[in-house]
């Protein structure tokens, strides 16, 4: 249909750029939602905010199938080994979003059982503030992460 005429005779790019471009637009999140943030995460995914507009709607509860770990909610001493196991089970490349105050720093729960920030024990790429963060914050964080993945920084 003449499409060949529109395209340049050859199309050169770095393979890495192509990979990053495809990775950033097809993130498969694994929701590790435990508490209030999980409900806001559900809000983000459902009709009004609709995360699928940004190419990240394929939620997978299996860590083997996903590349974006969203830690939403409080993580306690009993849960931390589970979280570490899930992090290790995810295939490379993988990214971690720490959603909300509790996951990022313990939030209002400075108690004997709460992990004061999951970044002490697993690498985190993006932090989302808020208790719980609004869905707009989650979308903003996702776009920031996509930008970084696209530019090859992460």
């Amino acid at each position: 249909m003449g499409l060949e005429d529109l395209l340049p005779p050859f199309f050169a790019t770095k393979l890495q750029t192509l990979l990053n471009w495809s990775r950033k637009n097809s993130l498969w999140p694994m929701p590790f939602g435990t508490a209030c943030c999980a409900i806001e995460l559900m809000s983000t995914l459902s009709s009004r905010y609709d995360l699928s507009r940004f190419g990240a709607e394929v939620l997978r509860f299996s860590p083997r199938q996903s590349d974006l770990l969203i830690v939403g909610g409080r993580v306690c001493v009993k849960m931390m080994p589970v979280l570490q196991k899930i992090y290790l089970q995810m295939p490379e490349p993988k990214w971690v979003v720490s959603m909300g105050a509790c996951a990022s720093c313990g939030g209002v729960f400075d108690t004997y059982t709460m992990i004061q920030g999951v970044d002490q024990f697993i690498p985190v790429d993006i932090y989302i503030p808020g208790c719980p963060p609004r869905p707009e914050n989650v979308i903003d964080a996702l776009q920031m992460l996509q930008e970084q993945i696209g530019s090859g920084k992460k």
Binding site: P31, F32, G33, T34, A35, C36, A38, I39, E40, M42, S43, S46, S47, R48, F61, P63, G73, R74, C76, K78, M79, V82, I86, V108, F109, T111, Y112, T113, M114, C131, P132, R134
Partner: protein, 423 residues
């Protein structure tokens, strides 16, 4: 709904719903198979466990021989935190306990402290608290029904119910400033009065709710997959419900005719006209039906409450319990002193030495607070009687001897909120 009516299938219409008959799957293990038992670890990271429940199952074929629930994956130390925060600070923490219906928790805790202090809030504050508690009941039940549908494959119901929940979030955000974690009550009143124009907005929302409940009911009550996977599944007998301390919609679905709002009224519930839906089947379907009915009853209460909302203050200013408003703090000396006394460490509310238990009917059941006052502004012990904890303790009686696939249906119908279960 117009299309549904055109086909003669309104929400009350009849669709044949008998089970599959001969095609029903038999769970007799085939000879040669099913020998030897298998241990299956279910959760904590499983879509049906909502992230934080774990069950160690011993299976024979597909039948659960014994189940060992393991909880505590969201243990936050609320009760220890309660012994280190003053009464008003702790209200912020109660939001995070049952995040599906934060307003109910706020109200329950504030009422318990007021019982300890023996103060009564003005009628307007009571009515607003009641409105918020009932709105949060609707928001909890509508999502619970949606999630129950989602766990069994009816994904649209969850999306539909979330649209309504978003509208309720808007109402909560207008009143309290927060979508999910509201922290709206204070000891002795409310954080603020209702904003202008909120009542028409709530009314406009409520006018649409019956239609939405009809739609959800149409989607599920006539859905053969949903019916086959909930009717007769996860049966909780009345004896077990009483013995395990199960309360709320779960107990009412099992035939326990008890609702604190009717039987031990608080916050002025005795003035409203409503019914308490009770079923006797005790299965997952009955729990769904009770929740749907309860939403309709909440609507009745809300209509009456919104029509009869008294005017007047929303804070009791006698007894120096409530923080004075900022406009007064900046202009009046006494208010400034009052503000400092209430907020300085080592001062604050003067509680009597005594121990009280106060319970409210939260969307999940009896939410009780046991407070030990020691004369300071910090509770000596703040125990919460979480409905989900006791509701979930009966899980073994519901799933043992049943096929593995039932667990998903049963967990969806229990509405276990992990924050409340593990605290």
């Amino acid at each position: 709904m117009a299309d549904l009516k055109a086909t003669g299938l309104t929400s009350k219409g009849k669709i044949p719903t008998e089970p599959f008959g001969d095609r029903a799957i038999s769970f007799e293990p085939e000879p040669g198979l099913g020998e030897g038992r298998m241990i299956l670890n279910f959760g904590p990271q499983h879509p049906a466990t909502h992230g934080t429940l774990r069950l160690s199952l011993e299976l024979e074929g597909e039948i659960i021989v014994s189940a060992k629930p393991d909880i505590g994956f969201l243990h936050t130390g609320f009760e220890k935190l309660g012994e280190n925060r003053n009464y008003n600070q702790f209200i912020t923490v109660t939001d995070r306990m049952n995040y599906m219906s934060a307003m109910s928790n706020n109200v329950g805790f504030a009422l318990a402290v007021e019982e300890l202090l023996e103060i009564e809030v003005p009628p307007r504050a009571q009515a607003i608290r009641l409105i918020m508690a009932e709105l949060s009941r609707i928001s909890d039940h509508i999502l619970c029904v949606g999630l129950q549908g989602m766990d069994l494959g009816a994904f649209s119901v969850m999306l539909w119910s979330f649209i309504q929940r978003e509208k309720l979030y808007d109402v909560f955000e207008l009143t309290s400033g927060g979508r999910l974690t509201t922290s709206y009550t204070r000891v002795g009143g409310l954080a603020y009065d209702l904003p202008d124009g909120i009542i028409p907005r709530i009314k406009a929302f409520l006018a649409k709710v019956p239609e939405i409940i009809d739609e959800v009911e149409y989607m599920l009550s006539h859905n053969r997959i949903f019916i086959d996977r909930t009717q007769g599944i996860g049966v909780l007998t009345k004896e077990n419900a009483i013995s395990y301390g199960v309360t709320g919609p779960m107990a009412r679905a099992a035939g326990v005719d008890h609702d604190l709002r009717r039987d031990r009224p608080y916050m002025g519930y005795q003035n409203y006209d409503f019914d308490v839906p009770v079923k006797t089947e005790g299965d997952a379907y009955a729990r769904y039906e009770v929740r749907v009915q309860e939403m309709r009853e909440s609507l009745k209460i809300l209509d009456q409450a919104l029509d009869n909302l008294p005017s007047g203050p929303v804070n009791c200013l006698g007894g120096k319990v409530r923080l004075p408003g900022k406009d007064e703090v900046y202009t009046k000396m006494e208010s400034l002193i009052h503000h400092f006394i209430l907020s300085m460490p080592g001062h604050g509310l003067e509680t009597p030495k005594g121990e009280i238990y106060h319970a409210t009917e939260s969307p999940n059941g009896e939410l009780g607070w046991f407070l030990v006052g020691d004369g300071t502004s910090i509770p000596y012990r703040a125990r919460v009687r979480p409905p989900s904890f006791y509701n979930y303790s009966a899980i073994r009686t519901m799933i043992e001897g049943k096929p593995l696939a039932d667990i998903v249906s049963v967990l969806g119908s229990l509405n276990v909120i992990a924050g409340e279960l593990d605290r």
